[in-house]
């Protein structure tokens, strides 16, 4: 099969280019990460991140034939029609909207900065009990679909609002985490958290495009979480 990969080494390349590779997959429906690992044996200079290779660490988010996803849990047959059959090349690019460090590796500083801004840790101003803080299964259920985020950045880097204002708009990943703590019955700083989201950019730059939902490799729904935060802001502000 043919694989076309975005290449850029800041030390040697004036500008990025697409490099074509030929790979014999022996008809196997490999994961995209397996393809990259095989190509790296041919060409050790190829740069990409990877760790768990099972879709839980969030290292290998990339753009595959135009759609963001995790290379390790995306089989060739799922990339785009015709890729697995060899009718179309597999096209790999770094996540869009973030500066490229090298090849498929992007600088995620802006993404992490936004995550840190939402104070992504539990805050509780009551003294801790000797055992765990009690939480009913119903209360606990409210953070299902939120805490599972792996910070792969597939969502935020597919969001046009994040592309235009990566420093001001928190982006779907950070907002999902923001709601994870707003929805946690054990967190007592709801009001202070909401006060920080009230400006025209941090949350309200979400235009409901829902690219985040369509690319999330964990099947999470940041748009819905953003809607919930908006409802909370309304309740607080009206």
């Amino acid at each position: 099969m043919k694989v076309s990969i975005y290449r850029y080494n800041p030390e040697t390349d004036k500008e990025p280019y697409m490099k074509e590779y030929e790979l014999d997959t022996a008809g196997k429906n490999l994961m995209v990460l397996d393809v990259l690992n095989l190509l790296k044996e041919q060409d050790p200079t190829l740069g990409y991140r990877r760790s768990c290779r099972e879709g839980v660490c969030g290292s290998d988010g990339m753009n595959m034939n135009g759609k963001n996803g995790l290379a390790c849990v995306t089989a060739l047959s799922e990339v785009a029609p015709g890729v697995f059959e060899g009718r179309k090349p597999l096209i790999l690019r770094p996540l869009p909207g973030l500066p490229v460090v090298r090849d498929l590796v992007v600088d995620m500083t802006m993404f992490y900065n936004q995550y840190e801004k939402v104070q992504p840790y539990l805050q509780n101003n009551t003294p801790a009990p000797a055992i765990e803080r009690l939480q009913s299964p119903e209360e606990r259920e409210k953070i299902d679909g939120l805490y599972e985020c792996i910070l792969c950045a597939c969502c935020s880097t597919s969001c046009p609002s994040f592309w235009w204002n990566p420093e001001k708009f928190l982006g779907p990943a950070a907002l999902l985490q923001s709601y994870r703590f707003l929805a946690d019955s054990r967190d007592t700083e709801t009001d202070a958290r909401l006060a920080k989201l009230d400006d025209p950019f941090s949350l309200f730059r979400c235009r409901g495009i829902m690219n985040c939902v369509s690319v999330c490799p964990k099947g999470l729904n940041p748009t819905r979480a953003i809607g919930h935060i908006r409802d909370m802001l309304l309740e607080r502000g009206v």
């Binding site: 080494n9 050790p44 740069g47 991140r49 990877r50 660490c57 849990v73 840790y121 055992i131 009913s136």
Partner: protein, 590 residues
């Protein structure tokens, strides 16, 4: 050659659960703490832990007792865990777990609002007399993920200074003392000396010495490599756990919690074969026992699939609701990697390398130990060096770790080391002052790769090493095969010394990192091979055809591998817990 120096009170190498628990402890107390991790911390392998953290918090059973947990752990270890260490882990455990909950870890809950606990393998009530216990605290089947993210979040809050995507190359030693590490910024290629009074190794396991493993691609034994190159010994390194349920072909793990929730293994005839091997605990016997039983079924021709090379994990009888609420991640992984939807069909599984019980010997404060005469003498502290988590051998896992005990090990001993270092810093811990030569020595292997001009490629050498280990040091081991393995690994040492790093660029050069990782894989593999070949008995995960029985007379002890002489010595196991009676070695049945 002079390089930039940055100075801290303490540095932690490794951003998994143990490392981040240690750094959190120190940063919270206001000490200048750096955490060096070759990946962004939440991408560390702790994130893959699924089933839970075993601890007697008395939620599922109000009468649960940490001593019962201790009994199970000692029995599970096949009696070569140190009983003082197990006692510490099991008794301090509840406090450590409640702390995690207070930090925000989203545990699953019982109707009473307490932490949900599920049954895991090797768990019993009342010292093995009271039947199966349910002691593993869980956040669905994503406990490791929940734990790691919670710890990262708390470190953010506490002001730990993160050096993410920095790779630690080697320790800087001054005589017998450790003064810090040399690390390389992956993004820019810059090499920096991190100087600290305390250096904590928390680099995790090395499952990547095998070709088939549940471990992440980053589990290359970097801490073990650094310790061995510094001339420090490793303990019980022959003890490698093979997890019963790795998805066949892919190596990806499905949690023991599947069997805890009621799933079971069947062979090609649909027989629940564990009833034959472990009549009481059945599918929830120790992992070594289940893994061996599975291999016996496969070797006796009762394996499933066209090649009869795996068995089936049956889950569909649990019903869709239980599977989706308790084991949602497993359903996802099975579909992606096993091409089987557990709601409808069994998952193909095979024992897969999972955990390194051995490691850098430490006491319960995480202080690294060396033995006075290479390997047979008295234990002494290595000044300035600590080890926590999988890289350490405290030893609480002995010859076989119980499911759910790894996460407990991480938080209890990460915390313990943090507390100890804090106290030592308050009392004026000294900083070893290295000379230029000391620093230079730690750069030697980087320089060798940088100066290589030809030779075999890193990927070729790595593939060779992994298949050698896979073939000779798997679930069942044989003397002649292991001898052959030892000599192949020795050959590989020579070949790797002449390996070639073609790409010498600075910016995010992953080829350089893979070359440096290969050095560490080799160190771990060599120690494993020699230790496994030398331990002439079968105990826990170490199972030999030629010595099929446990030999308490000669081998009821730790093994100590000395890298200088490449020989194996013995070290006494601690049988003296402080508050309970010794658990005497017994025949181990489930």
């Amino acid at each position: 050659m002079s390089i930039r120096t940055v100075t801290f009170d303490a540095i932690v190498v490794g951003g998994g659960g143990a490392g981040m628990r240690a750094s959190l402890q120190m940063a919270q107390s206001g000490f200048k703490t750096a955490l060096i991790s070759k990946v962004f911390p939440t991408r560390s392998h702790t994130v893959s832990a699924q089933g839970g953290i075993t601890c007697a918090i008395a939620s599922s059973d109000p009468n649960d007792d940490w001593r019962w947990h201790m009994y199970d752990t000692v029995k599970g270890s096949d009696y070569i865990s140190d009983q003082d260490a197990v006692e510490y882990m099991c008794s301090v455990g509840p406090e450590a777990v409640f702390e995690l909950e207070h930090m925000g870890l989203p545990f699953s809950r019982t109707e009473e609002g307490r932490i949900y606990q599920r049954p895991f393998g090797g768990q019993s009530k009342n010292f093995g007399e009271g039947g199966q216990a349910a002691r593993t605290c869980a956040a669905a089947d994503r406990t490791g993920h929940a734990l790691l993210h919670t710890l990262y979040q708390q470190n953010l809050k506490s002001g730990t200074q993160f050096y993410s995507e920095w790779y630690a190359i080697d320790m800087v030693t001054v005589g017998d003392k450790v003064a810090g590490v040399i690390a390389c910024c992956i993004e820019t290629g810059e090499v920096v000396f991190f100087k600290a009074k305390a250096t904590v190794l928390a680099t995790g396991g090395a499952g990547r010495i095998y070709s088939s493993t549940t471990n992440a691609l980053i589990n290359t034994g970097d801490g073990i490599g650094m310790a061995l190159r510094a001339g420090l010994p490793v303990q019980d390194i022959e003890m490698w756990q093979f997890h019963p349920t790795g998805i066949a072909g892919a190596g990806v793990l499905v949690t023991e919690g599947c069997r805890g929730e009621g799933g079971y293994l069947v062979n090609k005839d649909g027989e629940r074969f564990m009833e034959r091997y472990a009549p009481n605990a059945k599918d929830l016997a120790g992992r070594d026992v289940v893994a061996r039983a599975m291999m016996m079924e496969i070797l006796d021709g009762r394996g499933c699939g066209p090649n009869g090379d795996h068995v089936h994990l049956k889950l569909d009888h649990l019903g869709e609701e239980v599977l989706l609420s308790r084991l949602p991640g497993i359903c996802e992984l099975s579909k992606t990697f096993g091409h089987a939807d557990p709601v409808k069909e069994p998952v193909p599984v095979v024992p897969t390398c999972h955990y390194m019980m051995g490691g850098v010997p430490t006491n319960i404060h995480g202080q690294a130990l060396r033995l006075s005469e290479g390997h047979e003498g008295e234990a002494q502290f290595v000044e300035g060096l600590f080890a926590v988590g999988e890289v350490a051998c405290v030893s609480v896992h002995g010859a076989n770790r119980l499911g759910g005990n790894s996460l407990l090990d991480l938080v209890v001993f990460g915390r313990a080391a943090g507390l100890f270092i804090e106290e030592s810093l308050r009392q004026g811990m000294e900083q070893a002052e290295p000379s230029t030569d000391d620093i230079d020595r730690a750069m030697a292997r980087l320089r060798r790769w940088e100066n290589s001009t030809g030779g075999e490629s890193v990927s070729e050498l790595r593939n060779n090493l992994q298949s050698t280990m896979q073939n000779a040091f798997g679930v069942f081991r044989k003397g002649d095969l292991m001898e052959d393995g030892v000599s192949k690994v020795a050959d590989l040492r020579a070949r790797i010394a002449n390996g070639h790093l073609e790409d010498k660029s600075m910016a995010f050069n992953t080829a350089r990192i893979e070359a440096l990782e290969l050095d560490n894989l080799l160190e771990v593999a060599e120690a494993t091979a020699i230790a496994a070949e030398t331990r002439k008995e079968s105990r826990g995960a170490h199972s030999r055809y030629d010595f099929p029985d446990r030999d308490d007379e000669n081998w009821l002890c730790h093994s100590i591998f000395d890298p200088k002489t490449k020989t194996l010595g013995k070290r006494d196991v601690n049988f003296k817990p402080k508050t309970v009676d010794t658990f005497q070695p017994k025949v181990r049945t489930y």
